[in-house]
Amino acid sequence: MERKAIGVISGKGGVGKTMLTASLATLASNDPEIHAIVMDCDVDAPNLALILPPENEADIKTEDTFTTLKATFLEDKCVHCKQCIDEHFCEFNALSWNEDEEIPEINYLSCEGCNSCKVLCPEHAFEINAVKSGEIITYMTKLNLALVYGKTRLGSTTSGKLVSDAKEFAKELDEFSESNLIIIDGPPGIGCPVIATVSGLDFVITITEPTPSGLHDLIRAIQVVQQFGIPFGIIINKYDLKSSFQEKFKRFIEDTGYDILGNIPFDLSIPNSLSFAEPVVIYDPDSEASKSIKEIYKKIKDRLILL
């Protein structure tokens, strides 16, 4: 198989992205035809590392990223003309006027580092600098496959950029050239980090649960994937959840004609495996949930070979 990149997204959080990614990575590591790299692009709350720990702690490499841009105010150049406020240099409302000192103040959180204040100020009293946006961590897992994940610095705004940085970082690894499958655990939602995750993938796995919010958020996530024209399949987790919404849910999914990759039953082996921080296909390989994930793995592989 030629190298393919796949990602797991869901819209709604907590429906099983990381559980599924960890299990797919485990199955891939046991598959002689596959050489996989696994990534966690949920840079706000990266959890995959908990369930795929390093073979050797000393092996963990951490690199800081400095891709977030922020403005700095240079007080000695300011002539207190207040033009930056009066002419509304900043569209992000990151500039406010300090009446006492007659100088502008920068709201670090709102600042996008867009260059406007720097370019528009006639006295050049602003500059733009790259600040630490987060870190990219990489190591060999106990499954003997490389894991790469990003983690944002709290208060640094740009999670989408860090996702792109982590994906670029993975391409530089020695393991990348030998790999033929990249498996990505995606973030919840449909915004900036999801778009950055999905961009450039060959196939997207969407996972959901049969609840009104699960369906609502799935549809929104699929709309994003469709904008990119990437083929996708659906996995329904907690398939047999006792819910009055079940009938409506199943009818809706059937009517769409979307590619169903499989159903995972509500099975205690999953929460149990998570409490031991193990992929369910290792913790209890014969459970109903594990069996269904193995079927799903085969189906995904079939899809990828045909792409």
Partner: protein, 310 residues
């Protein structure tokens, strides 16, 4: 003089822990006691409050967003716009008109402001929508990002501008304001936590839940906000006591816990909040847990004297 409404932010780091479930049921319980409640759904990527309230969204108000429009007749192909664009959203090839790359445009308008030939006009696209609804006696203010758009914070900012307007001009119309956030610890979540008097992070007794809780608490402490945790699905796998003890050992204040409960799942799927007077499930473990949390919350807010009926 009327007191300003108390603002509570329900958040949590990890997705799917029950943020919206708690936010909606708190709103319902305050309403049950005749308080005027404003619920703001700030999870604009996936707003779900209206689903849990069993309502439908009516007509949304469009949130416009700047995009540059190149007027070719005026453009001299000088490349100044492209050179100064921090996100490289204007591609300049020598002797050609600049090509806008809208997916990376931040909307800063710098190109529009600096073009010496006025060859860039301010056009706009739809970033998403905001909605103002009344559902089950609760005022709901909700934002929705348009799928395939990235700048969710632009919608949250509009919701917060509307909130500021209320706080400035009519603070007396609400007694309590509840903010529901997206999962994660990114700018949308920060903006909402920044507005709150009290923060309630929701977690679950799993290793993922714990890790993400510690991260969101780090953010809340960074922002100097008071907080108390709610542990949802606390009876999962029998780890309740151990999990609560671990939090206590880390000096994390706990507001309460909600056990796994079929009544909660059923009411969730029906779109009738379990604490709504019309909900058929009363007196179960989940229901009782919510009542207890509500009573403790009122003590925390110093709102434990009942409000007089209208």
């Amino acid at each position: 003089m009327a007191e300003n409404p108390k603002i509570i932010c329900v958040t949590g780091g990890k997705g799917g822990t029950g943020k919206t479930l708690v936010a909606v049921n708190l709103a319902v319980m305050f309403k049950n006691e005749n308080y005027n409640v404003l619920l703001i759904d700030g999870d604009v990527e996936n707003p779900n409050t209206f689903l849990l309230l069993g309502g439908e969204l009516s007509h949304g108000t469009e949130v416009p967003f700047f995009i540059p429009k190149i007027i070719e007749e005026k453009c001299t192909k000088c490349g100044l716009c492209s050179k100064n664009c921090a996100t490289h959203a204007l591609l300049h090839i020598p002797d050609a008109y600049p090509i806008p790359m809208l997916t990376v445009c931040s909307g800063c308008k710098l190109c529009y402001k600096i073009c010496p030939e006025k060859a860039i006009e301010a056009d706009s696209k739809i970033l998403g929508w905001t909605y103002s609804e009344e559902m089950r006696g609760i005022s709901l203010s909700l934002g929705e990002l348009r799928p395939s758009e990235a700048r969710s914070a632009g919608i949250v900012e509009v919701l917060l501008e509307k909130l500021d307007n209320v706080l400035e001009n009519n603070p007396e119309i609400y007694d309590i304001i509840i903010l529901d956030t997206a999962p994660g610890a990114h700018c949308d979540v920060e903006l909402l936590i920044g507005k709150a008097d009290l923060v309630i992070p929701i977690t679950e007794p799993t290793k993922f839940g714990e890790l993400d809780l510690l991260r969101i608490i780090e953010l809340i402490e960074l922002m100097n906000k008071e907080y108390k945790v709610v542990v949802n699905r606390s009876s999962l796998l029998g780890f309740r006591d151990e999990f609560l003890r671990q939090l206590e050992e880390k000096n994390i204040n706990i507001l309460g816990d909600i056990p796994l409960d079929d009544d909660i799942v059923s009411s969730y799927c029906q779109g009738i909040p379990i604490m709504d007077k019309k909900c058929e499930y009363k007196g179960g473990e989940g229901y009782n847990a919510f009542e207890k949390i509500f009573n403790d919350l009122k003590i925390w807010l110093k709102m434990d004297k009942p409000k007089e009926g209208k």
